[in-house]
Symmetry: C2
Subunit: 247 residues, 2 copies
DNA sequence: CCGTACGAGGGTACTGAGTGTCGAGCGTCG
DNA sequence: CGACGCTCGACACTCAGTACCCTCGTACGG
């Protein structure tokens, strides 16, 4: 068995030579091997030994590249999270805060849209494996924390600043995920960004300043006169809604 | 060693006899033993064998009561989740939907408030153990799904009904958790429900009908006049904020 | 009164994820 | 040419979680 494994390892090295790709060819090989096995026999029916056996590498190397078996399913989220925090750190105070975190959320969508087939495969996998769903939650939670931390900084002066930051971050993530999942359910067909824009527009309509200008929308169609004596924003909104007769 | 274990088991039985409590004395004994060890030597430094050794029961019995080691940290969430779904199922269409899910969220808070010291201990534990944080996320996710499913049913007719349901459920959970955590950080001092009411009021101000009446708040302190020509709600809010000079 | 059926719990052994440690290969630099 | 350092593999180990089987107490029907 060890001789066949050595042969497989040699074949792997040849492949890396002709691929001439980025820095970690071994990492990609592990992801490819893992997904082949996950798709043909299921996640829980596949052991790490199976994966490294197919990839022709040592078991220890798997855990060098991926802290856990779940991580191989989300190989690019670490980089995407770094991109998001970098994006939020750059150009701190220029844009409207809510719009800024919406743009940050679009970064995640773009990552999914880069490899539609891979994203759809992963979606089907995570949908039916409870352990992967739980892991995905922790990934999403880190995105949400990044957005919330950014908003907390921007809302530093406000009353209930951290509350608003947490709520808006959660709403943005939920809207993004709603649109993302509906796109994934359609096998990656159609334009993902349009769905997400619509969903994020809803969140922006509920919080803070309005969304980015929408075509065909004239600002003059709203005229507001407010008499105010120290009322909180939610009271104002409540009155507006009552006046407009909405529920 | 087996004799001392048998002695411990006998002591356990005596305790249950005098406690005369509910059905599972063994379950409570396991929780108590687990938390004693978690607090004095840490979660990850405590093995399941340590717990069952202290509780004087067999290892197999631990997994009879708790599907995993993490579950012993959240012993009452299963019941609370059942309570919430039952609450949402009863009295389907009477209350305003957003207010209804806010009330459902208050059920969770009440569970935490029932045992303040236990809740604070657990909070400190989950805050510093990544594995427990991840597990807590999956628990919270189930609450959020319950709320979202309820709202989806109530919003069945609406355009973007599922989107609104998901976003509002996420916002409610985020607001609840924000208030809950701030209460837990204060070691369970102060009135938890007031903090949560305030946080949920913010969410209700952003979505749907306004929050329940707040004491000391006079409706007269807001007077609004709106001239409207088919504008969407977010445009109105935008104008309000601009008028009030908020960002 | 006895045998039996049943349910709760204990014991043993196994699988598989994740870690620590060491040693082999190999390229780089002094 | 040798020392260093980095990458990877081999082995051993811990621990969570599962399957299987055993024991004991109890209730129930003959």
């Amino acid at each position: 068995m060890s001789s066949s494994r050595a042969a497989a390892r040699r074949a792997e090295k040849d492949e890396t030579a002709e691929a001439a790709a980025g820095k970690p060819p071994m990492r990609d090989a592990l992801v490819a091997a893992a997904f082949r096995l996950f798709l043909e026999r299921g996640y829980e029916q596949t052991t790490v030994d199976d994966i490294v056996g197919l990839a022709g590498v040592g078991r220890r190397s798997f855990f060098r590249y991926f802290p856990s078996k779940e991580d191989v399913v989300f190989p690019d989220h670490e980089r995407c999270l770094a991109d998001m925090t970098a994006f939020l750190a750059s150009g701190e105070g220029t844009e409207e805060p809510v719009a800024r975190v919406c743009d940050a959320a679009r970064l995640v969508l773009r990552m999914y849209a880069e490899n539609p087939t891979f994203s759809v495969q992963r979606y089907r996998l995570t949908k039916q494996v409870p352990g992967l769903r739980a892991y995905e939650l922790s990934v999403v939670w880190r995105y949400e924390r990044a957005l919330a931390e950014y908003l907390r900084a921007r809302f530093a002066g406000r009353r209930d600043g951290t509350l608003q930051a947490d709520v808006i971050a959660a709403a943005v993530v939920a809207a993004h995920n709603n649109a993302l999942r509906s796109w994934l359910r359609s096998d990656g067909r159609g334009e993902a960004s349009a769905t997400v824009d619509h969903a994020l527009g809803y969140v922006q309509s509920a919080f803070g300043a309005g969304p980015a200008p929408v075509v065909g929308e004239e600002p003059e169609d709203v005229v507001v006169v407010v008499s105010r004596r120290g009322a909180p924003l939610w009271r104002v909104v409540q009155e507006i809604e009552t006046t407009l007769g909405r529920d």
